[in-house]
Amino acid sequence: MYRFDFSILGGSTIPVLADGMLVTLEITATALAAGMLIGAALAILRGSRWRAAAWLAAAYVNLFRSVPLVMVLLWFFLVVPQLLQSALGLSPSVDVRMASALVAYSLFEAAYFSEIIRAGIASVPEGQMDAARALGMPRLLAMRLIVLPQALRNMAPMVLTQAIVLFQDTALVYVSALADFFGQAYGIGERSGRLVEMLLFAGAVYFAISFSLSLAARRLGQASPAVRGTASAAARG
């Protein structure tokens, strides 16, 4: 029987783990916010009348949804840091690993959020947009004031679910040199020979956080299967 020894948890390891958790939360929060914004823009572009813009937005979404997150992270970590630096005008004193991770996750999640937002927009009755246009509002304004707020309310549970997925996906930043919560836990476990305990601990922490958040999502009013079916069908269309 394996002799468990959790004593490694304490003293010098707690601050290291806490640092890791901060990285995890920072990535989650940034990718959530940026992903939603970019996703919303993409969703709106896809419905626009400019064929080129709609096509570009669709291509973006399909590209990022076809490739594993691991590949996107590797792209941004190994290949484009310098490009990123000049594109965003960052001074090199900014940690390029964090910057590239944040950009990678934001762009990746944007594709998924844009599908959720599209489904949300589709769930708002067309009459809303028609009425707004009839009142003389330009399409964009109607989107911003009338359709999007209602869409957001409808898709809140799905957004939260995707946020939970994002939270779990931050563990993949392991492929770059950035140490998130899992990376730190694994490193401590490997170097101290207590890998079993650290992996179980990490799993328990992720479970506790994700499970609580998913209960909250359910309380937000679980999307009925019909709507979910609609949303997924729209998402695939």
């Binding site: 840091p81 004193s93 940690d95 690993r97 040199a177």
Partner: protein, 294 residues
């Protein structure tokens, strides 16, 4: 006469500062930042101690180089950033500018010189097998048909794959993320042996709980020259790095540092590696150079 000679010596000793800065030194000066890549478990070259801080022989060499940069570029407040890297991403990170210098026990090879540049050699090593005594592996040829752990991206990994192909041997190669994972594979019975630089093997073994169960065996397969890694086509920076290393080696400082890491107790457990300076190394200290074995 003597004052004139002294003045001449002083004049000649003024470093590249008189010229325009280029390459890495220019980058460092402009951004007031130098980024070093470190390894997490390349004991005793560069690794994390019990408090998760970076320590090690070649890491100290890197710090000395940074000090020299501070002095020569007159930048006492130069910011230093250290980021963890592994064998598989070190060259990419150097090429894409994420790190500026890497002193971790990386092997200098002609293949790699196509992509990066290397400093004067800081140490020599040979590759061997670490295995459990009861595994029955004694000679290198005994690895046929077995599972061998090796760190991904190292010269040892490339060597193993080539060996398997050239000798038509079936090898199950377990490429791990870093040295400690490789040793873990061996410890947990997933691999029959771990193929790596002897110093790394010796260090991992010295710190293991069950060290009596293991043995380093097999004919050494390759001889390697370890050096610091920097960007290609950057003669100014290379000259500075080479100067620092040569000075350390000829002045006896390198030998003292060597004793500190190889003959005295080292973190995190105070283990002693007990690996005295070889004749080759002593020769190297007398005549610093940047030659590789291939």
């Amino acid at each position: 006469m003597r004052p004139i000679l002294a003045l001449l010596a002083l004049a000649l000793a003024v470093p590249a500062l008189a010229e325009d800065l280029e390459g890495t030194l220019k980058k460092v000066k402009e951004h007031n930042l130098i980024v070093i890549g470190y390894r997490e478990s390349s004991v005793p070259w560069s690794y994390l101690d019990g408090d998760q801080k970076v320590v090690g022989y070649s890491h100290e060499v890197a710090l000395k180089i940074v000090d020299a940069i501070k002095a020569e570029l007159k930048m006492p407040d130069l910011k230093l950033r250290e980021i963890p890297i592994n064998a598989q991403n070190r060259i990419s990170l150097m090429q894409n500018g994420t790190i500026d210098l890497e002193c971790n026990g990386t092997t200098n090879t002609s293949e790699r010189r196509k992509q990066v540049a290397f400093s004067n050699t800081i140490a020599f090593t040979q590759t061997q097998l670490l295995t459990k005594k009861k595994s029955g592996i004694k000679e290198f040829e005994d690895i046929a048909g077995k599972t061998i752990a090796v760190t991904a991206g190292t010269t040892s990994e490339h060597y193993l794959r080539k060996y398997a192909d050239e000798h038509k041997v079936k090898l199950n190669i377990l490429a791990t993320r870093d040295h400690s994972q490789g040793f873990l594979m061996l410890q947990t019975g997933r691999a029959d042996a771990f193929f790596m630089d002897r110093d790394v093997l010796g260090s991992l073994l010295a710190r293991a709980q069950d060290k009596a169960d293991y043995v380093i065996t097999g004919q050494p397969q390759t001889k390697e020259a370890l050096a610091c890694m920097l960007r290609k086509d950057d003669p100014q920076f290379k000259a500075l790095v080479d100067r620092v290393i040569a000075k350390m080696q000829t002045s006896g400082e390198a030998a003292k540092m060597y004793d500190k890491w190889f003959m005295a107790p080292i973190p995190p457990d105070g283990v002693v590696l007990d690996a005295p300076l070889t004749k080759e190394m002593k020769e190297l200290y007398k005549h610093p150079n940047d030659q590789s074995f291939d």
